[in-house]
């Protein structure tokens, strides 16, 4: 990855993080922690990996992304807005009555959202269905599914994993945002999902690992996954819940809570400072 692309991705991800904070602050509710941990991945996928056309969001030949961890849609909305799928003004109305941007993704109402999600475990199955549709139709588009680590506690994830490997869906790439935290605390304390890599391997998947906040690392993993034939791939990416905002990092308490005015201003200040450093 060249320096210019890298710098562009960093700037874009920083803007995504600022948007996430603004969305959740203006809604006075939402899920900042996981949105911040997945911000780099979504930025990278839409900017580098995915074939999409913001002017024609339902283009049949597009790559699809299913945000199986649907509660982190503030990050997805921010990316889609930056890509031009819809007016950035919509971000300010996130979760407001009558607004386009729902608390969890709504494919019917939001251009660029490929699947309605929010009930954990279902998105990965839908992504499997899409990948199966591409195979059945002989189409070359691909499907990305982004899951949370806590979400792996849903049995349906493993039903989907079994099916995807059985049908050799090499047009499906899943990413597990492994920030280690869920609402009630550490994933390893609540009900451990580890080891994630060995589980997926046992289910017949090709497994890659990455640093979820390092674009070089993400690029290496997703580029390698692209080359795999005959099986689905998963990228298990280590990430930090609340990444980019000092007082939110690694705090389960910021899973589903909005910042107050002072916290919002402090968070934005930190992010703007980080952005200023990127400009140099």
């Amino acid at each position: 990855m060249d320096k210019q692309t890298m710098n562009h991705l960093k700037r874009m991800a920083n803007q995504v993080r600022q948007d996430v904070l603004s969305e959740v602050y203006s809604a006075a509710s939402g899920h900042p922690g996981g949105s911040l941990s997945v911000a780099d991945t979504l930025t990278y996928l839409y900017e580098v990996q995915m074939r999409v056309d913001p002017q024609n969001p339902s283009w049949e030949g597009r790559d699809r992304l299913v945000l199986s961890k649907g509660h982190t849609c503030p990050a997805l909305y921010a990316v889609l807005a930056q890509k031009g799928f819809f007016d950035r003004e919509e971000l300010k109305k996130f979760r407001h009555l009558g607004a386009m941007l729902q608390g969890h993704p709504d494919m019917k109402g939001t251009p660029g959202v490929d699947m309605s999600t929010g009930s954990l475990g279902q998105g990965i199955s839908a992504a499997v269905g899409m990948a199966l549709a591409a195979k059945t139709q002989g189409a070359d588009w691909r499907v990305f599914a982004v899951l949370g680590d806590g979400e792996l506690q849903e049995g349906q994830v493993w039903e989907a994993a079994m099916f995807a490997a059985h049908h050799k869906l090499d047009n499906l790439i899943a990413a597990v945002d492994n920030n280690g935290l869920q609402i009630d605390g550490n994933v390893s304390d609540v009900c451990s999902v580890y080891p994630i890599d060995e589980k997926f391997r046992a289910f017949g998947w090709e497994v890659f690992t990455a640093d979820g906040h390092d674009f070089e690392s993400l690029d290496a993993a997703f580029s390698a996954a692209r080359q795999v034939k005959g099986k689905p791939c998963v990228i298990v990416q280590k990430s930090v819940k609340g990444k980019g905002v000092s007082f939110m990092e690694n705090q389960a308490g910021w899973h589903g809570k909005a910042p107050n005015q002072q916290q919002y201003e402090q968070a934005m200040e930190e992010l703007r400072a980080a952005a200023a450093e990127l400009e140099v």
């Binding site: 049949e60 699809r64 299913v66 709504d106 494919m107 019917k108 490929d114 699947m115 309605s116 929010g118 009930s119 475990g121 279902q122 998105g123 199955s125 839908a126 992504a127 499997v128 269905g129 899409m130 990948a131 199966l132 549709a133 591409a134 059945t136 139709q137 049995g155 349906q156 039903e159 989907a160 079994m162 099916f163 049908h167």
Partner: protein, 315 residues
């Protein structure tokens, strides 16, 4: 009643699905290790590349169907009614209903006529569950003719739908040459002025038998086949109430949330008043036994329908 041998509506489903497969290559079929029982095996034999046996994993199957539909395919999803609408209820609600995807949930082995397998496999709540989902069409065909046409109608309809199918072979009451299924439009099978029996599914044939019995006693009963529970043909209910003054509903489903509920809601909503008596499973679980014995035990017979009409008219 037509003089052909009884046919289970799951057979009609499998046969029609196999025909649809040849006509439309967007049609795909999903099953959960029950292809022989739900009769999707008939499609599988002809189009193995478009038949996906998901194994014993109904939740995953329904969400996969949602993904297939989101990508332009027309998935027909099958299992027993209990597991399709019960086990995978939330998947149907959130992954199919909410995004209004073009998925057809076609569940066999509905009701107590499943027989010997007993209560765990006898779903009498499926209509209630599916009817509660916004935008979901709910169809419960009465016989082979109607089931075959309903499958075709649902393939053409764009949106989520539930088709209720049975295990038990049932009499063919509609002439395939002259019958024309129309989604949401009830069929008046017999005219009468004294009372109306609004029936659905396998109870329609029994309602016709009851009307025949009652006619011999001088009671003229209108028989309405309410094959579509949602959207309900409100006009048919209102005219039955106004013109015949009393209604008996007949369904192989719980008295809670099914046809009886839908008819009462529609009538009261329209500001019409007439007594309504249910012939239904009265808030109970089923049990093991031969299908016809069970139907008798739970009072889902022509005689039970006739008796409800007599009781109503005696008041």
């Amino acid at each position: 009643m037509m003089q052909t041998k009884p046919i289970a509506t799951r057979e009609s489903y499998g046969r029609t699905l196999a025909q649809l497969g040849a006509e439309n290559n967007k049609v795909v079929v999903l099953d959960a290790d029950l292809a022989e029982s739900t009769k999707t095996c008939m499609f599988q034999e002809k189009f193995p590349e478009r038949h996906f046996d998901c194994g014993i994993a109904e939740a995953n199957m329904v969400s996969i169907a949602a993904g297939l539909a989101a990508a332009g395919m027309i998935p027909f999803v099958s299992s027993f009614a209990m597991f399709a609408t019960g086990r995978a209820y939330e998947q149907i609600r959130n992954s199919v209903g909410y995004p209004h995807l073009n998925v057809k949930i076609c569940a066999s082995h509905a009701g107590i006529s499943v027989g010997e397998d007993g209560a765990t496999h006898q779903c009498v709540e499926d209509i209630a569950l599916m009817r509660g989902i916004p935008g979901m069409v709910v169809v419960n065909p009465a016989d082979d003719t109607e089931a075959s046409q309903a499958v075709r109608a649902l393939a053409e309809y764009k949106g989520p739908a539930y088709l209720r199918l049975g295990r038990l072979a049932v009499p063919v009451i509609n002439d395939p040459e002259s019958y024309h299924f129309k989604l949401g439009r009830a069929v008046t099978l017999r005219e009468g002025k004294d009372a109306t029996v609004i029936a659905t599914g396998l109870m329609v044939a029994r309602a016709l038998e009851a009307a025949e019995q009652l006619a011999q006693e001088g009671i003229q009963v209108r028989v309405v086949n309410m094959h579509t529970i949602k959207p309900l043909d409100v006009e048919a209910v209102v005219s039955a109430a106004k013109e015949t003054g009393c209604i008996v509903t007949a369904e192989e489903h719980s008295v809670i949330g099914g046809l009886y509920s839908a008819v009462c809601e529609a009538m009261v909503g329209a500001g019409v008043s007439c007594p309504v008596s249910p012939v239904a499973v009265m808030d109970a679980f089923g049990q093991s036994g031969p299908a016809n014995d069970l139907l008798e035990y739970y009072g889902l017979t022509a005689e039970a329908i006739a008796q409800k009409v007599r009781e109503r008219l005696a008041h």
